[in-house]
């Protein structure tokens, strides 16, 4: 997280997940820069992206009724949206984006890390975003530097 007030570098950082528990059942947020602000999600701080409004997906989202035609067929993937996207806490107990009874920790949201120690880490991070209003930048994984031999 970069704050304008901090010219030294990131104010806080955390590892997380950008994909849902099942990429075929739920939408995956497409790369981009989106407005985001501090919010609350299920008892903990979180970031709400685009005020919860529609966002583009990587390869569609069958988990949103707006992505279906009136005859029940799916609209073209390029028209699909995902909404109510938060950056919220991950799975506290296991390194999985589903719970042990098969409920998604993420059905399209961005999450903090999962597994042992993840919740205290997330809470420490999200505390620093209280009052945050800015942008959420979901970027592709940077390419590894390649050396060019001449």
């Amino acid at each position: 997280m970069y704050l304008e007030s901090n010219k030294e570098g990131p104010t806080a950082s955390i590892d997380g997940n950008t994909i849902p528990a099942d990429v075929d059942k739920y939408g995956t947020l497409a790369e981009g820069v989106y407005p985001a602000e501090y919010s609350i999600y299920k008892g903990d701080g979180a970031l709400l992206i685009n005020k919860g409004g529609d966002l583009p997906t990587v390869k569609g989202n069958p988990n949103n009724k707006d992505n279906y035609n009136s005859d029940g067929s799916l609209k073209p993937v390029g028209e699909h949206v995902i909404d109510e996207v938060f950056f919220h806490k991950g799975n506290y107990a296991r390194e999985s984006l589903s719970t042990s009874k098969g409920s998604p920790i993420s059905a399209g949201c961005q999450t903090g890390g999962c597994g042992q120690g993840s919740l205290p880490k997330f809470r420490k991070f999200i505390k620093k975003t209280e009052g945050f209003k800015g942008n959420y930048y979901l970027r592709p994984k940077p390419n590894k530097k390649t050396s060019t031999k001449q």
């Binding site: 609350i40 999600y41 299920k42 008892g43 903990d44 988990n63 949103n64 109510e84 806490k89 799975n91 506290y92 107990a93 296991r94 999985s96 719970t99 042990s100 009874k101 098969g102 409920s103 920790i105 059905a107 399209g108 042992q116 120690g117 919740l119």
Partner: protein, 138 residues
Amino acid sequence: MKKLKSYILFAILIITMVSCVNKKTDLLNTKWVHNFEECKDYFEFKDNLEYNYYSCESDELSYGTYFLVNDTINIEQLAGEFDMNFEANSRHRTPKERYKLLIDEGFIRYLEKWEFKNEKWQKSDFIFDENYTFKKEH
């Protein structure tokens, strides 16, 4: 001989009924826990056929109703503690789901999951980890 058969059948019936009643009594006002390394999931079975389930993986409490048939607990998940924070049709609300769980040698374990989709109950293909069991705490 006919009388003896009737006595045996009656005895079997009584034993079965007593066994069922005992199991039901065993479940009332009990707490069953699954230990993860840093936190615990649990079921609480209350005497009005309602239950609480806490998932420490998602740090969330959900509620519903249950009934017992022999060794099988049938639960219907109806709501969650944070549902009121989301719109009625939000995907963040606790979904209506049914589960079958088995009481087996002092443990409870999940058998089946059913999801309510398109106004119909459909059996989920989710496979439960056999180690995801709950032990009676009190």
